[in-house]
Symmetry: C2
Subunit: 278 residues, 2 copies
């Protein structure tokens, strides 16, 4: 029956780089294809937020290289990572570049793909579930909802190195409507909120900050836009966190379903049979 | 080793509904958790764009119910689907509601979750890879890219039933910058383009329409914003299609990697071992 899952060009190849999204945090939110790449890899170059359960899936003898990227402490500069990917592929290895979330959503995957293309190294992108959409879902918030939000904007709160001003026009964003999801915005949240309010966004707009979303330690704080930065600071919320601003946050009262949040881990008698060794 | 993949509360339960995202089209882009739910289901209520390879994964004796939703021909009204989910869960079955993409991104999953919550039926959301992000990736377009796009907006081109005007303020969207991804917008593309240009978006902005993204029959047309609607009509592009507007479209020239596009299916000797029966 496995043939049913064959796709044209699906054979995994050596001398190639797979830019794989690990998903938002919970290891079982990786894709089937992503896991397949990981299990076939000769070398895995991974980022900080990748679940250890995923790294444990590599085959014996596969090499694991930590590419760092702690906030404020980039262990391997991007150019170094690019060079490493190229070098490993040139050695004829099956290279997996494992990144949190989706490699093409604020993952710098586009830059890595560019470097590979320029070096003539074949690559594939294996999309991952983006934290921008899945973390709100785990907090009981659909980013779109009939009558409440016909659009969602995903934006980074991170300023590019060497620039003081954000590349984002927050004041225009304030007028666009729908749901706003901010990644990497915990540190800059006070300025973001000020800009959004200056742009005309109602200070009473519901806002939510979710820390460690999709994981057992997930927790979140909710408040009006005007109060959310202070509330998050008070609660000691730190990265990784996803910020949601918009009317959809109200649905959380009814829709919150994830038992990880605010509860002790539950015992389970249901091991992930699918993840077992083959 | 399967214990490493256990998450608190991970045991699948009967009398419960799992709102599962099937991903953007290619069956191997479903999540590991989504596939696990599908294989455990007593009943699967599925939408039109779900891959047949996924439906073939249910266990013998599981019931499959098609919920319809062809464009312009809603086979089962939403209220009927909600009622069906509730009824099946009350019968003590493990219910999977399988939806294309992500259930909380224009999937009406929020409405189904609301109905379940109101009826006191336990449910979980299993996020899927959204077509809004993955289909551009398969066409060689990262929706964000350093120096080109610090934000991405995902919006529906579909008008709500009974309304002529779109709920979306396209003219403000035109000024927000970054990348614009439009789902369900093929039919309304001429009006959308007119509104975006009226809002000040440069007619020369690169635009791309991708039909059947991530599947072997994927094809796309690219042109300037001003010409894209005519070009897509000329090529006979129809739903399902994803539209991308923004400077990131230019990266496609270098980054296009998916061999499905414009090529005959390739033979593969690499069956999806992970998908084999357990």
């Amino acid at each position: 029956m496995s043939e049913k899952f064959e796709q044209p060009g699906a054979a995994l190849e050596r001398g190639k780089v797979y830019l794989v999204g690990a998903g938002p945090g919970a290891p079982d939110l990786i894709t089937v294809k992503g896991l397949r790449c990981l299990r076939a890899a000769d070398v895995v170059i991974y980022d900080r937020l990748v679940a250890p359960e995923l790294l444990a899936e590599v085959r014996p003898g596969a090499e694991l290289i930590f590419a760092g990227k702690r906030p404020g402490c980039h262990q391997l500069p991007q150019a170094e990572i690019n060079r490493l990917l190229i070098e490993q592929a040139r050695r004829g290895r099956l290279v997996v570049r494992l990144k949190g979330g989706d490699p093409f959503v604020f993952g710098r995957g586009g830059e890595e793909a560019e470097a590979l293309a320029q070096a003539g190294i074949p690559f594939e992108v294996v999309p991952g579930v983006s934290a921008a959409l899945a973390v709100p879902a785990y907090a009981g918030v659909p980013v779109t909802h009939r009558g409440l939000a016909s659009l969602v904007t995903i934006v980074t709160g991170h300023k590019e190195r060497g620039t003081e001003a954000s590349a984002v026009d927050w004041r225009t964003l304030a007028r666009v409507g729908g749901t706003l999801v901010i990644l990497m915005g915990v540190k800059t949240l006070p300025q973001i909120v000020a800009e959004l309010q200056a742009g005309g966004l109602d200070p009473a707009t519901p806002a939510l900050v979710i820390e460690w979303g999709t994981l057992p330690q997930q927790r979140s704080v909710e408040d009006r836009l005007a109060e959310i930065a202070g509330r998050a600071a008070e609660a000691g919320i730190r990265a990784p966190a996803v910020i949601v601003v918009g009317e959809v946050v109200r649905l959380r009262e009814v829709l919150a379903w994830f038992r990880g949040e605010g509860t002790a881990p539950l015992a389970t008698d249901d091991p992930y049979a699918i993840m077992a060794d083959e």
